[in-house]
């Protein structure tokens, strides 16, 4: 092929923004050699087309098919390095995004892939776990539990079989970084799972991927086949199998014990703990369930050392966080930065403020169970401890910005109705509490509720927080009660006098 090489993302969101239409329009042209890469994550610029130049890649943004002559002539491209949204980030886990072809084994290794696995193979399982301990990595799925502790429990447990399970349920609305990894850099997830398998002595792995992600599922399956052919899939001289299993639209199946039930083919109902999955998980065997991003963070730690990872971020939150910006901001997209910037700094520096004509009303961090922040509260540092102190969660790093047209009562009702729908039904506080809370919010909307109902809503919330079996019921009241606290008039003005 002698055409000009153009790079175009194959990511689901890039395609939804128009990249696929460009690919269709240009596929047959002999003057173009189209390379489908992962996405940089600067989704506000998509569809984006890049080409090589002596100063590195040049980008054309918001491209239409008619822009091709301009691109081929080299007119108007801007160097990637001059896009502040990207240059201000610290990319470690997402370093290859926008650069490589997701399913190229060579490109993965050229970018440093497998270096972590090689180091891991030179040491003992306990040396791997020690490295993770030094790194102070905490889980990225929401609970922020120290990764090494789980691995240590599973490694020392005696069992005929052990499992590694990647939680790819990514249920929180407003999050998409796991999807990006699975579609854009699947070998990084596989390498992380392999390192975990060596550390705990597991022979089989599963990736439980939500059904809403068909492209991720297909890409993972292709990556597993390719890795298998290349002889990568072994642990301690034994074959290590990885299978992708589809979810079926249930949010609570992202909770690790419900996920295991679902993997076993049953109703995805939460299990009482203890025992924790690391002791007794899939089919009663020691199982590490970790988030996709957590596994994808492991290869760099083994390649560059735990101390390197611990040197990034803040005291209690080491490393980088992948924030996913959405809602009514000017520049939505993926942001990988060390922990520690404030929420306001992130919204200003990366989001570049609100979309045209919109004014900020509230920001929800951490998915549908995350607390709402008002403008006055945005100076909170992005780290686990500050959020815990504020009774909030970072969750999986989703940030959704709402503008002043948002009806907070309707948003509260929507969030509580979601929990009522998704409750697995095992514990009463969540199953009944969420339904009653939704009913009260419905009644307020109809103008039929009284002050006493508002007190009941708060009381219900306190009971759910204190007594629910898992985080679904336990966290459900937070966004609603924070809306009530910050925007009381929107609730009270609709009460029956």
């Amino acid at each position: 092929m002698s055409g000009v090489r153009l790079y175009l993302s194959n990511d689901t969101s890039s395609c939804a923004a128009g990249a696929e239409r460009l690919a269709e329009a240009w596929r047959q042209r002999s003057d173009v050699e189209l390379v489908r890469t992962s996405s940089r994550g600067a989704f506000y610029l998509e569809p984006m087309v890049e080409r090589d130049s002596p100063e590195g890649r040049l980008a054309w943004c918001h491209v239409t098919a008619e822009d091709l002559p301009k691109i081929l002539a080299g007119d108007g491209g801007i160097p990637i390095s001059t896009i502040p949204f990207l240059s201000k980030q610290t990319r470690h886990t997402f370093v290859s995004f926008g650069v490589t072809e997701p399913l190229s084994l060579e490109a993965y290794q050229a970018q440093g892939g497998l270096a972590g696995l090689r180091n891991a193979r030179q040491g003992s399982p306990s040396a791997i776990i020690q490295e993770i301990k030094t790194s102070r990595l905490r889980g990225r799925g929401g609970a922020a539990f120290p990764v090494w502790k789980k691995w240590d429990v599973a490694a020392t447990a005696q069992a005929d079989r052990k499992y590694v399970v990647a939680n790819a349920d990514e249920g929180d609305a407003g999050t998409y970084c796991d999807r990006m990894i699975m579609e854009g850099d699947p070998f990084r997830l596989i390498e992380g799972m392999l390192i975990c398998a060596m550390a705990i002595g597991a022979g089989a792995g599963y990736i439980y991927c939500r059904q809403e992600y068909p492209a991720a599922t297909a890409c993972l399956r292709a990556a597993i086949r390719a890795a298998g052919k290349a002889g990568w899939l072994e642990s301690d001289g034994q074959p290590f199998t990885i299978e992708v299993v589809s979810g079926a639209g249930s949010y609570v199946c992202g909770e690790e014990t419900a996920l295991l039930e679902s993997l076993e083919g049953k109703r995805g109902v939460v299990r009482a703990r203890p025992p924790h999955p690391a002791q007794s998980g899939l089919y009663g065997r020691p199982t590490i369930v970790s988030n996709v991003l957590t596994f994808a963070t492991i290869p760099n730690i083994l390649a560059r050392g735990g101390a390197w990872h611990a040197s990034l971020g803040t005291e209690g939150s080491c490393g980088t966080i992948a924030l996913q910006l959405g809602g009514r901001v000017k520049q939505p997209g993926l942001i990988e930065i060390p922990f520690g910037l404030t929420l306001r700094e992130v919204l200003d520096q990366f989001g570049q403020g609100m979309a045209d004509g919109a004014r900020l009303k509230a920001v929800q961090v951490g998915g549908p169970l995350g607390s709402l922040f008002t403008d006055a509260q945005l100076d909170i540092p992005i780290c686990f401890d500050a959020f815990a102190q504020a009774d909030a969660i970072l969750g999986h790093g989703g940030i959704v910005v709402f503008d002043d047209q948002t009806d907070m009562l309707e948003l509260s009702r929507h969030l509580m109705a979601f929990v009522a729908d998704e409750s697995c039904g095992k514990c009463v506080p969540c199953r009944i509490g969420s339904l009653r809370a939704r009913e009260i919010l419905d009644a307020i909307q109809r103008g039929q509720a009284t002050e006493a109902d508002l007190s009941l809503l708060t009381e219900l919330g306190d009971t759910m927080k204190a007594t629910s079996l898992c985080g679904l019921g336990g966290r459900a009241p937070y966004p609603v009660l924070s809306a009530l606290e910050h925007f009381p008039v929107e609730f009270r003005s609709r009460l029956r006098s």
């Binding site: 249920g171 609305a173 679902s262």
Partner: protein
């Protein structure tokens, strides 16, 4: 033995499904997996006819109640055929913030159906979905396999025309 014959008579399985169920039988000593079988049938038929429950139960060596329990638990397992084209509108928070309610209203008025319904000519089924991971270019609408981002209410008529 008698049981299996009775089921075979009671449950007329469409082409290929009996073979699928034979294949899905757990190996000696291996645990059953109900959800896996349901997925496999759903992939073939587009929905799961509750009349298949006894045959599924038999293939997995579990009770009909077990199968019915799993089938009713998962939102994306349909028990009725849907229209020729499935429209999924995201109602996740990023899409909400970007006014997906207006997109939903446009689709509803165009098709004359509510969320969860199928048009009388069986052309479209309209379903809500909670986030498809396309939040950065929301609002999101998926029609069959194709995902559309930054959808405006004015786009709706043009989209729907393309699906016959």
């Amino acid at each position: 033995m008698l049981g299996s014959m009775r089921y075979a008579v009671k449950t007329p399985l469409p082409n290929g499904l009996d073979e699928l169920l034979t294949h899905a039988r757990p190996a000696e000593g291996a645990p059953p997996n109900i959800l896996r079988v349901l997925h496999a049938i759903h992939d073939v038929c587009g929905y799961i006819d509750p009349r298949f429950i006894p045959a599924i139960a038999q293939s997995q060596g579990v009770t009909e109640a077990d199968v019915a329990g799993v089938l009713s638990y998962y939102p994306s397992l349909n028990t009725q055929p849907s229209g020729r084209h499935r429209i999924q509108v995201c109602l996740g928070e990023s899409c909400l913030a970007n006014r997906c309610d207006r997109v939903v209203a446009a689709i509803q008025s165009q098709l004359g159906i509510e969320l969860g319904q199928t048009t009388s000519d069986s052309r479209f089924t309209l379903e809500p979905v909670a986030c498809v991971g396309n939040c950065a270019v929301s609002p999101s609408v998926r029609i069959d396999g194709e995902l559309h981002g930054r959808v405006r209410p004015s786009d709706v008529a043009g989209f729907l025309d393309r699906y016959r």
